[in-house]
Symmetry: C2
Subunit: 353 residues, 2 copies
C-alpha cells in the first residue's frame, strides 16, 4: 500500500520524537511491503521563525494532499508570558484544526501493566482502566468571537455551538460506544451554560437512534472528581472543546505515563495523530524525551487512517517489549536503571519490528 | 459577642447537615458566652416549591441583615435532565452570589492524618498537602450574556472579565499568600482566551506590589494534571469562575474525604460558609450524610467572619477527635466499623465542645 504522510515535527521535543516514529513506521513499511511518502512541513514557533506564520499555507497544502498527518508538538515559552504577543504558535494549532476540519480529538486512557505503579493513583483504582474521551475540537470558546472593550480593561470570549457540531461529535461517540462497553457519558455544565443545555438536548434526542447505548449526563466539575476517583466507571466520554482540554489532560495522569499516551484527531479532510504531551522545551535537543507516545500515535494512524490493524498491533507489541525489557528513557527508567536516549529507544524499536 | 447568622439549609441533605452545625455552634456559644441569633430562610428547590423563586427577596434581606451566612447545599435532580426548565435551583445560587457580592470562593485543601488512606492518591503524593484555591465567583461565563439563535439551533455563552474584578480577587490571593507559603499560581488559558490574557496581564502588573510573593502562571489543562500529580507544589491558586469550579472539585479528591471539606465565600456585603459537597439527593432524609464539612465551615465562620479563633480551633479539635475515635458516618466508617447517623455525630460533637 502507498502511504502518503504529512510530517509536522513542530517545536521543542517535537522533532526528536517524530524522528523515532519515522524510524518505526519505515521499519513497518519494509516488513509489510508498504511504500511511505513522507512530506515534511513547518508549524508552530518553528514556522513563525521561518515565515512569520504558525500554520503557513504551504503546510496546509501538504496536509490536504496527504492521507494522514503525523504531528509532534508545538509551543514555545517565549510566547507564554507575553500576553501582548500577536502571533503565537498555538494559533497555528487552532488554525490547522479548523482548516483541516479536525472536529474530534480521540484520547484513549489505559494503563500499562508494567508501569502501573508510576501512577500517583492507587493500583486498585486504575488497574484495567479503559476509557476514551472524545473532545470536540473545532468549536466552542476556542473559536468564538473575542476581544477587548473599555480601553482594554474588559476582555471577552464567546462560546458558541450549533446543533450540527454537537451531533457530529456525539454520533462518533455513540458509534464508538457500540464497539466497546456501550456506555456514553456526556459531560457539560447544563446547570449554568446555554451551550451545555444545547449539548444535553441534542444528545438526548439522539438516544433513540442508539437504543443499546446507556447514556449518562454529568457536570464537568463532578467528572473532574470522578475521573480520578473511579476511572474504571467510564467507557466513552463526549464533551465540548474546553472541558475536553482540561479533562483529557487530567485523565492522562491516570496511566502515570504521559509520555506514552497517543491521540488521534478525526477530521473532514484528513486525520491527524499526535502524542498528548506538549513541546516540553526544557528537554529540547537533549535526546532525552520519551518517543513512545508518538510511536503509539503512529500505531493509531496505521489502524484508523489506513485500516492496517496488524501493523498497528506489531508496533504496540514492540513498545510493550521495550517497556518490559527496560529500553526506556529517563522518565520511565527509575533511579536504579539505565536510561536510554530518545534516539536509542527509536533505533531499538525499529530493529525489533 | 452577638452573632447574627442567616441559615440557608437548602435542598437534599442540606437541612440535615445544617442541623448538626447549628448544634455545634450553639454549644460553642454557650461555652464562650456568645449570643447566637439564627434566622432561617428558603433557597433552591425548596424555595421554588414554596414561592416559585430559588432566591427570594426575603431570603436576600435575611442575608443582608446577618453578619454571616451558613449555607447547606442546593440542587435537585428533577431539574438536571430537563434542559428546558426555566426556573432552576442553581439560578438561586448564582443570584445569591451576585447580589451578596460574594466575589471570592476560598477553598482550602488539606489532608486528615487519620483519613489519608481514603484518598485514591498515594500517601506520599498527598501527605502534608496544604493549598488554597481562590475561585472568582461573580464574573466570567457564569454571568455573561447567553442565549439561542437560529430557531434554537445555536447556543452561546459569553465570558467577560474586567480588570477590576481580577484585581479584587488577585489582591486577596497575594495577601493570603503573604500569610502562608508566599507562592501564588495564576491559572488561566492565556494561550487561547482573551479574558485569560487580561488575567495574566493584570496579575503581572500587581507583582511589584508584593515583591516577596513568588508568582507563577500555568495553563488550566496543565494544572488539572499537576494538581493530582504534585498537590504539595501549590500554595495559593487564583483563577476565574469556571476553571475554579472544575479545579476546586478536582482538588477535593486529594483529601479523600469530600464530606469533610469546608469553604468560605468572601463578599462585599457579607460572607458565606458552606460545605463543598452538593445536595446529594440520594441520601436526603436518611440521616446518613456526613455533617463534618458543614461543621468545619462553621469553624471557618467563627475565625473569618467573627475573628473568633479559639472557638474555631475548638471545633476543629473536636472534629479531629470524632475522626480518631471513629464517631463517623458511613462514608468514613469502612466495612468493619460502626457507622453513626448524621444526627448522632452532631450530638456527639456538641457534647464534646
Ligand atoms: C496548546 C493549546 C492551544 C492546546 C489546546 O488547548 O487545545 C493544547 O492544550 C491541546 O490540548 O492540544
Ligand atoms: C451548582 C453550580 C451552579 C455550582 C457552580 O458551578 O458554581 C456548584 O458546582 C459549585 O461549585 O458551587
Amino acid at each position: 500500500m502507498k502511504l502518503n504522510i504529512a510530517l509536522l515535527a513542530g517545536d521543542g521535543i517535537g522533532p526528536e520524537v517524530i524522528d523515532q516514529a519515522v524510524k518505526v513506521v519505515n521499519a513497518v513499511a519494509v516488513k509489510f511491503n508498504h511504500e511511505v511518502n513522507w512530506t515534511s512541513a513547518l508549524t508552530g514557533a518553528a514556522a513563525i521563525d521561518a515565515v512569520g506564520e504558525p500554520y503557513p499555507d504551504e503546510t496546509h497544502e501538504v496536509c490536504m494532499a496527504a492521507d494522514a498527518v503525523l504531528f509532534g508538538a508545538i509551543g514555545h515559552p517565549r510566547f507564554d508570558n507575553d500576553p501582548k504577543a500577536t502571533v503565537r504558535p498555538e494559533q497555528g494549532l487552532l488554525k490547522m484544526r479548523k482548516k483541516l476540519g479536525l472536529y474530534a480529538n480521540v484520547r484513549p486512557t489505559f494503563t500499562f501493566p508494567s508501569l502501573i505503579d508510576n501512577s500517583p493513583l492507587k493500583r486498585e483504582r486504575i488497574e484495567g482502566t479503559d476509557l476514551i474521551i472524545l473532545r470536540e475540537l473545532t468549536g466552542g470558546i476556542y473559536f468564538g468571537e473575542r476581544g477587548r472593550k473599555d480601553d482594554g480593561n474588559t476582555a471577552f470570549d464567546t462560546c458558541t455551538y450549533t446543533r450540527e457540531e454537537i451531533q457530529r461529535l456525539a454520533k462518533l461517540g455513540f458509534e464508538l460506544a457500540m464497539t466497546r462497553g456501550k456506555k456514553l457519558c456526556c459531560v457539560d455544565k447544563a446547570n449554568v451554560l446555554e451551550s451545555s443545555r444545547l449539548w444535553r438536548e441534542t444528545v438526548q434526542d439522539m438516544e433513540k437512534d442508539f437504543p443499546e447505548v446507556e447514556v449518562s449526563y454529568e457536570f464537568v466539575d463532578a467528572v473532574a472528581m470522578r475521573l480520578v476517583q473511579w476511572p474504571k466507571s467510564y467507557d466513552v466520554i463526549i464533551t465540548e472543546n474546553l472541558f475536553g482540554d482540561i479533562l483529557t489532560d487530567e485523565a492522562s495522569v491516570i496511566s502515570g505515563s504521559m509520555g506514552l499516551m497517543p491521540s488521534a484527531s478525526v477530521g473532514i479532510h484528513t486525520s491527524l495523530y499526535e502524542p498528548i504531551h506538549g513541546s516540553y522545551p526544557q528537554a529540547a535537543g537533549k535526546d532525552i524525551a520519551n518517543p513512545l507516545a508518538t510511536v503509539l500515535s503512529a500505531a493509531m494512524m496505521f489502524e484508523d487512517a489506513f485500516g492496517l490493524k496488524e501493523e498497528a498491533e506489531l508496533i504496540r507489541t514492540v513498545v510493550n517489549k521495550s517497556l518490559t525489557e527496560g529500553i526506556v528513557t529517563e522518565d520511565l527508567a527509575g533511579k536504579d536503571n539505565k536510561a536510554y536516549k530518545t534516539s536509542e529507544v527509536g533505533d531499538w524499536l525499529a530493529k525489533n519490528i
